[in-house]
Amino acid sequence: MAEKVNETSSRCSEPSPALPSPMGTPLRKVFDRISGLAMTCKRNAVPPRRRIFHGDVEQEGFQHASTYCLSSYYSVFVARLAIMVMLAVLIGLLTILTWHFTKVYTTRSLNTLSSGLRLELLQRPMLRMWNVLNSTSEITTAQVKLSEYVIRRYSKATTQAEQVGLYEMMRDVTWALFSSNKALNAITISYRNGFVQAFHRDHRSNNTFYIYSDLVNYSISATGSYDVNMLTSHQGWDNESIHGNLSAIWYQEQLDPVTGEKIGKAKPVPPDDLINIAGLSQVPDGAASWHVAVSKHTDSLLLSAALPVLDPSNERIVAVVGVTTALYSVGQLMKELVEVHGGYIYLTTREGYLLATSTDAPLLTNTTKGPELMLAVDSEDPVVRMGARWLQKAYGNKLPPHHVVQVENAELDRQQYYIDLFFLNLKRLPMVGVIIIPRKNIMGKVDEMALKTLVLLISASLCILVIGCVCILILTNGVSKEMKLRAELISHLDARRKAEASSNYKSQFLANMSHELRTPMAAVIGLLDILICDDCLSNEQYATVTQIRKCSTALLRLLNNILDLSKVESGKLILEEAEFDLGRELEGLIDMFSVQCINHNVEAVLDLSDDIPKLVRGDSARVVQIFSNLISNSIKFTTSGHVILRGWCESSNMASDAGMFPSDQKKSRSTLNTKLKQNGNHMDSEKCNKVILWFEVDDTGCGIDPSKWETVFESFEQADPSTTRMHGGTGLGLCIVRTLINKMGGEIKVVKKNGPGTLMQLYLLLSTPEDGTEQHHQIDFVEHSVVVLLALHGSMGRFVMSQWLSKNRISPVEASEWNELTQTLRELFHTRGRNSGFNTHYSLSESSRDKLKSIEDVTNPLYIIVVDIGLLDSSTDIWKEQINFLEKFSSKAKFAWMLEHDTSNVIKMELRQKGHILMVNKPLYKAKMIHILEAVMKERNLELQKKSSNATRVTTREGDSHECLEIASTHFETCSSDDSDISELGDSNSTSSLHIGEQQEEKFVRCSTSNFQTKNCLVEFCHSEENNSWTEYMSNDRPTLNDMGDAKCVISRGPDRPSGSSGKEQRKPCPSKAMNEQKSLEGLRILLAEDTPVLQRVATIMLEKMGATVIAVGDGLQAVDALNCSLDIEEGGRKPSFQDGSPRFQTEICDSPPYDLILMDCQMPKMDGYEATKAIRKSEAGTRMHIPIVALTAHAMSSDEAKCLEVGMDAYLTKPIDYKLMVSTILSLTKRTP
């Protein structure tokens, strides 16, 4: 059994690999598709994902990604489909396999079972048949033996009686046998003489008959003949004797079936009418014979056996015994079996004649010869007939060797049947048993179950499939949504990038445009300047041109603003990193704006705390631009009051000045601190000494609505649109300021303020130089016990100044107008002198009085009185008296005068005559105050030292003071008249570093002037004779002198200078006042290297017109030669070598290099400007000299500029040469170097 299972399993596993083969093509296609989809899926789905992850980083991928994004839609769809298909296939396969296996196993096991059963079933009727045969043969044999015995006893019967006795005996014996076996149909004995004895049992009527032939016919006579016949020939005993004996009469007696007693009368019947009597013909060879006989009266088949009875000598057949058994019982058994199991069973002979069937169909056919056996193929039962035919068709007459045939699934009449055939090979009667069972009977349930299972499985798998698909849909829905979102994100990013690009284009366009516009604007301004210089203009024309000039400047400033802004926006702005003096820059700024302020009746005040580092690193031009924008903005909107620029350093401010400022600053400061902490590491590693400088620009203007505090920093935004009409402006200024501040790592915002006006607060992150030890004023004012009387108009400036003074422990006394001043003076000096309450028409306030009282306690104070020139009444002549009044105190105090830019010369002259030498320009701020204090203290020290010195000094001092004053005022006027230019430059800080350089140079001038101013003051106290001072300076302190001298020269050459300065006039013998205006380059020796003759000529004339001496050479080589030659000469003999050199050069050649400046064209034959410059710088390497070289190029590209500066040139001019620009450049360069 196990083997069988194994076998079935192995056989069963065989089809499973073979299973796809029938579905091969479609399934393969599906698989191919799925795998293909999966591949495309991978290919499509994976790249976009990767792109998405790296998308933010790699911008270039976006365009591709957006196309991928579309395909990813499809890929999601396809992936979904593929997963579904795969699921469907999987579930389908599972279902089919399950169904198949279950079905196959059950079928197989059932088949094995049923085949066994069927054989068993078949064998039972066969066995019955076999039994029947056996019993028949046994009875026959027994009958034969008994007959032989009886016949031997009566062998010598000669008489009729004996003969009868024999027959009687035979009858009894036969009866005994017959009655012992109920199944027997009949027993016949036919004797040689034709006598027949037979017992017959009719099963249907259950009657038993005795049949015998008439004894009369078989007389003794007959017996005699019988003997003879018998002896003569054997052949005489044949059927003919019986059949021929047709006239013989047979009698039939009914018997009691149990006792054998006669019941009825014997009645004659025709011979062979009821039963077949086995005759001699049936045993021709003396052996037993078998055959299936057909009963004459019933339809049933009979099995009859015949045996001969031999005489004792065994030579003769005495009688033939025939036994007939009905086969009815076999059919009965079959029927019983079939009733239980169903199906059909039949037995046939080998030839195919039906012996028994389980059906009721007749086994016999009625032919003309009477009923005969029927072939199975002709059976009336359709199933048996068809089965027989099927078998005949399948096997013909040849039976398989094993005598067993088992056929499954034989289709008969559209129904499945099992057909089993069993072959029983009996010697005389070979038989074939066939069982036909409808498949339904065995497999019906199984098939039904298999069908049900299949249906169930399919429905279940369909459900799972549907649920799975829904799940997949739901699950992948999220993915597809995410995909969609990502696609949107990508498209947004793309759009943003495009927008940024377009904005960038805009900025670039603006930058280019404004740059292009600037060029013609510069030309317009230049031409206007030329026009203004023209003497031939009428007054009206002059006014108009000036107006045009102003407008052009305004336009240019606007262009510069736009350029700045777009530059910052397009990220091209690079901040310089250079050391500069922040305080000085801001002072210059305030100086500049104060002029404008005075016109506006606004006070400009600078209030820098002492802790601000002197030197910081940064882009000075940009810092100045920030503040100039802010201050000009403030001034623009302030009609009266003040504009204060406050500055302090972060760290110190926390403690000391906290009270001075509104409390909400603390918040901003704390945020700043956190910000600093965040940046801390970064900054520490980079530069350890970054400082945070806080600034405030405080005005008393119209103020800004709090809602606009943020938006004012946007471009083209003004707090109130109506102001545009009133004040003009584009609203770019603050925007530039903010971008610049942000770029410097700072912040700006509008802060709430008590009172009217605006308070802008900003901080900058600037680094201080490494070695920048903070240098505050070293002089200790305390020990001098200084008292300063501030008689100033502007209340704010005065307040700030007195605050500062108090902080430095200098006692300040304030006075805001003339009367207060006089009162205070009287109080101060007269009380000291007379110690009496001197009450005049004016009385001081209590606080001032207290102050005065406290001052009185100071022993031997040094009084400094700072008087605003505005306190004097200049409209009438009263001022003279006022000065005279003050003059009275000049011995007790030092006077310092604050001049206004338009203070008339008459007043200045007067002051000078009175010996008031200390004059500074408004506004007063810390640095100026320190200068005043220092000057006064120096003077006092000197006075203390030289108490005995004579009065001549006074006169000389007058001269010196004259100079000092002049310089200051000159400088100032330069500033004021060039105000627009400076502010323009300050605003713009344009691309060209030249501008910046120039600006810085101008600042430098200013600085050196202020230096000079103080120094000159010092000089005055030291030396009586000016010439001596010069010579002494030369010998003592050469660099200082050079500095000073140069500054002086430059200043004295300034275009607005009213008349020649003293120093200059003494040194320059032949200046023409008429030419002064033009000849700003007077006395300079310039080497011009230019190959183009036209340009050479033009430049030469230009320079010569300005008073310079020009030596022109054709190329770089000549230029180098010229320089070397002159150097040689200088080194060799220090002789004057140039014929055209001015006397000054002849005398001073030893002190200065042969040329003050070289103008170098960049593109020249033989040796170009770059090479020449390199050569010159190389030759200079060992010496201390540095000849400024200015490049002349036609390129006007910034790269050229870089190249120029790289090779060692100092500045850079573009062709065509701009007159003004050239002058300013040359001036700035020649000033700097000796």
Partner: protein, 154 residues
Amino acid sequence: MEVGQMQRRLVDYTKSLFMEGFLDSQFLQLQQLQDENNPDFVVEVVSLFFEDSEKLLNELTRALDQTNVEFKKVDAHVHQLKGSSSSIGAQRVKNACIAFRNFCEEQNTEACMRCLQQVKQEYYLVKNKLETMFRLEQQIVAAGGSIPIIEMSS
């Protein structure tokens, strides 16, 4: 001809030169530079320009005629021409030179030839104009008048 009339003509003529773009502000600067120290400054410079330009133009023609054009050399010449023309304010020559240089950088011989022709044309035009102007000036001076100051109207 009357002096006043001639002066008006000169002014008109000069103005037209500016209007038509032959000259630019640089020429005005040149005129500004002319004073009693250098009475013939403008004429001097302009004639220098003529000499220089003709020399350069000849060299350019020769350089471009060669089979193997040395663009570097051509470029240098054009650059020089541009410098000198811009110095006297011959604007149209300068502009033509700028275009010329661009083609030089592209090494486009054909376009360079075209540009050379254009430069030449512009040069001769401006030369004619300037010569006419100077003739007028000379006439005025000869007639005893002074040369009027040219004002830029635009």
